[in-house]
Amino acid sequence: MTRLAVWLGHLLIFAAAVLVAVLALGFLGGSTPPVHVALPPFFPFVAMSLSVDGLSAFFLLVIALVTAAAAIYAPSYLEAHPKGAGVLTISLGMFVGNMALVCCAGDFVTFLLAWEGMTLASYVLVVSDTRNDDSTRAGLLYLVMAHAGTAALLVVFLTLAERAHGFDFPALRAAARTLDGSSRTGLFMLALAGFGVKAGVVPLHVWLPKAHPAAPSYASALMSGVMLKVALYGIFRFSFDLLAPVSAPLPASWGWTVLLLGSASAVIGVLLALQQHDLKRLLAFHSVENVGIILIGTGLAMLLGGNRGPPQLATLALAAALLHTLNHAAFKGLLFLGAGSVQIRSGVRNMEELGGLARRMPWTAWLFLLGAVAISALPPLNGFVSEWMTFQALLLGGVRLGGASGLLAGVAASLLALTGGLAATCFAKAFGVTFLGRPRSAHAAHATESPAPMITGMLLLAGACVALGLAPGWAMRLLDRPTSELLGGAGASAVVTAHGPLVLTAGGSPDGLGATSISVTAAAALFALLAVGAWALRSWPRKAPRRLAPTWTCGMTPSARFDYTATAFAKPVRLIFAALYRPRRDIQKEIGPSPYVVRRLSYAGEVVDLAETVLYARVKRWITASAHEIRTYSTGRIHGYIAFVLATLVVSLLLFARP
């Protein structure tokens, strides 16, 4: 009964997602004017409305893509994890619907209500395992930070609304025109903080790696793959649209801030991800990294936009950011779904207890590998395309801007390069330790392949990864409307795929000389040909036999104990960046009769997230301590109560009695 309901619910969500995707594609492909729908009045003082333009449509597409995959995937996932399936289905629907509403909102009340609805629905998903204290704590942290973010947004919106005497975005836009520079920037910073919390920008990211893994995996996929993007939508909407000055480039300080935050998030996110053993936590930290990459592109677009640089450079940067938004949704969704299969089939999330799954769950393994290659920005998949564009934009933009901003772009470029290398290392570890080698626990040894629907969900996203990687022209056409709306000028495809749909071009080089063009498609084709050739060479018909033998372990009988663990794999990095990790390790050693005979050797180590320990822990401690301090002032003595009343009266008489 419930089973049927759950299936129906998810089918409904799937259908809705497909519908939205089709509509969004049509909208992005066509040239229909923005849609505006007025909602019936719910509250006095307020008129609510929906409006969809290019940007909204693009983000709707992002939402729809992952939602569709998750909706296929979820039901059979829930069968293995039966608690509260009904609630989960409903809250999934609420969650996705609210995200879509945020992207469609035409006024700030709708936006805010949908925004908070999104938060609450995802909170329900996070704490869905009500017995688990960790997820409860994670949910609390998530809610509190989200709430703080909302408070910031509230101030921004209300300040605008006061000048606008209205709530719909056109009015707010008009009101923002009348702002002076400093208050405009102040509002932008507030909005950035508000959205940054949800987007997991360092140092506001601490809730993210706790909350995302706590949810059911397909929900984590949606949170990491999509919800962060909804926050980014807010940033795009505010910086380029609502708060933008009429006929001047965006203030340089905005671009600087975003670029710096982006670079920091990218590097710190991936560095922390590298040290995780919990597969889903690792993926969550990678979301911080990827948001950073997106913000790098965004910040650059802010710096270059408004005729500070050649228009096509700004377009390139923004297109890179938007494309990476879509790409990250695809591969991060794929990876989380894969991790979910591992978790549900084996029952553990800790890589150290996994291993050897590639032979037991081949589909999951290969799809996860595909996602890993994509997220490590390795050719020929989609991750590489958007990162290539970002690099080009940084490079050419850096030259064009020169000076401090240019240098900043250079720094961002180097950090981005570092990020790529770290990500590759991290996923070599994640894939290798989880799926390869020998199983390190009974859980892993008895895991079985997950049912077809789950695989189908992953295949959908995998297909997206490949398509976005190999056919950039198609993806660029999706970006035309958003880019030209936000920056004016020609759309993305006119700039990036000027030399044909299969060729990526980075135009606008300083001395106008020929731009750089590459064709991932051609390279991939060559790669495929060469691979076939090499395969032929490798399996040349020869009499020499092919036999199996145990792995070489210096002559001892190999066992799972010989396999390299995740901790060991990440150790070099841990040592290189020790200043940041502050690693802690303690080794207990039981020695036998002679000090050279070691009975047992147990190792425990951990690294810290500096933002958490330095910032949040201290603030929390301070608040609690002062609260306890204040509390001691209320002795339960009635005389104190009376004295307070008397004192209050006298003081307010002294204060207010005379005009």
Binding site: G356, R359, A365, L369, V373, L378, P379, W388, F391, Q392, L395, G398, V399, L407, G410, S414, A417, L418, G421, T425, A428, G432, V433, F435, L436, G437, R438, H499, P510, L513, G514, A515, T516, S517, I518, A522, L526, A528, L530, A531, W535, L537, R538, S539, W540, R542, P545, R546, R547, A549, T551, W552, P558, D563, Y564, A568, F569, A570, P572, I576
Partner: protein, 315 residues
């Protein structure tokens, strides 16, 4: 010039690199032997090893996944694709109509090869593969950004990251060398040592488990598979040398297909590679291998130089 012509040239140059790769290794080995007052094996020894390996049978780890067999192939393919992106003999006159790729793609392809190799090493299980993979990836994550920055510092001066165009443009600029170029070159030389897996970062000759980086990952490969990987290694080495050459000594590159031009270009190429290979040999026989955890400092130097080069260019 049509797209097909370009592809043809690219494939030809790639083929050239693949063919000459082992020779370079042989040359370096010979040079080292001489410097150690040994006779040393012939410069053709690498070819013999390869043919021997190709004829041998395969012993595969029983704990490896089916994917294990595909890895050498993919590694080789990735490396050769990277080779196809380099200007060996020809420098394109104008932007290609059907471009293949630029320096970023090249570095990314090398990274892909490294990634796959690491996966393969972890696949068999066992400590050495894991250790090799971990260390190789660590070195890689330090080398890659530095390499990119060095390339960028050149690229920003001419506004493109297409290696061929870079070479052509810098040739026309008649090597207007400035401080950034020197810094970049210095960085590049350091990185070259790491990227070709040579002393002081790695030691291609050792098979003592605890000191292996690259070799550690190859332990479980055998026969034709190993052959593919070894070939890939040779190729990668020559690719790195050629990249350095293209960036810093873009001399005598042919424009057309006239025999004379080609001859000149070949000679120039041989000369450049010879110089760099000699450098490799000299360093390798005059330095000791660094402890692994000293390597980051060494590479960090390269990283800093590359970054300074880029910064100076932009400012």
């Amino acid at each position: 010039m049509g797209g097909t012509g370009q592809i043809a040239k690219a494939v030809a140059q790639a083929g050239l690199i693949v063919l000459l790769g082992p020779l370079v290794t042989g040359f370096v080995q010979k040079l080292k032997a001489r410097l150690q007052c040994r006779q040393g094996a012939s410069v053709l020894q690498p070819y013999r090893d390869l043919s021997k390996l190709l004829r041998k049978g395969t012993v595969q780890s029983d704990s490896a996944s089916p994917f294990f067999r595909a890895i050498p192939v993919l590694v080789l393919a990735a490396t050769v694709t990277a080779a196809a992106l380099l200007p060996v003999l020809w420098a394109p006159a104008q932007p290609a109509t059907l471009p293949l790729g630029d320096a970023i793609l090249l570095i990314a392809l090398l990274a892909l090869a490294r990634f796959l190799l690491a996966i393969g090493a972890l696949d068999a299980g066992g400590a050495f593969g894991g250790m090799g993979a971990s260390r190789e990836m660590t070195v890689g994550l330090l080398v890659e950004p530095a390499l990119m920055l060095a390339v960028f510092s050149i690229a920003v001066s001419v506004g493109t990251t297409d290696v061929g165009m870079l070479a052509a443009r810098r040739e026309t600029l008649t090597l207007a060398w400035q401080a950034p170029d020197l810094l970049a070159l210095f960085a590049m030389l350091i990185l070259m040592l790491a990227e070709t897996g040579r002393i002081p970062v790695d030691n291609p000759d050792t098979h003592l488990e605890l000191t292996m980086l690259h070799e550690g990952m190859l332990l479980e490969h055998s026969g034709p598979g190993l052959a593919c990987i070894v070939l890939a290694t040779h190729t990668k080495q020559l690719v790195t040398l050629t990249l350095v050459a293209a960036l810093f000594l873009p001399l005598g590159l042919a424009r057309g297909t006239a025999p004379a031009e080609i001859a000149l270009a070949t000679a120039a190429f041989a000369g450049k590679v010879l110089v760099l290979a000699t450098f490799l040999g000299l360093v390798e026989s005059s330095y000791a291998k660094l402890r692994f955890f000293r390597v980051p400092q060494f590479l960090g130097l390269g990283l800093v130089c590359a970054f300074l080069a880029l910064a100076l260019r932009i400012l």
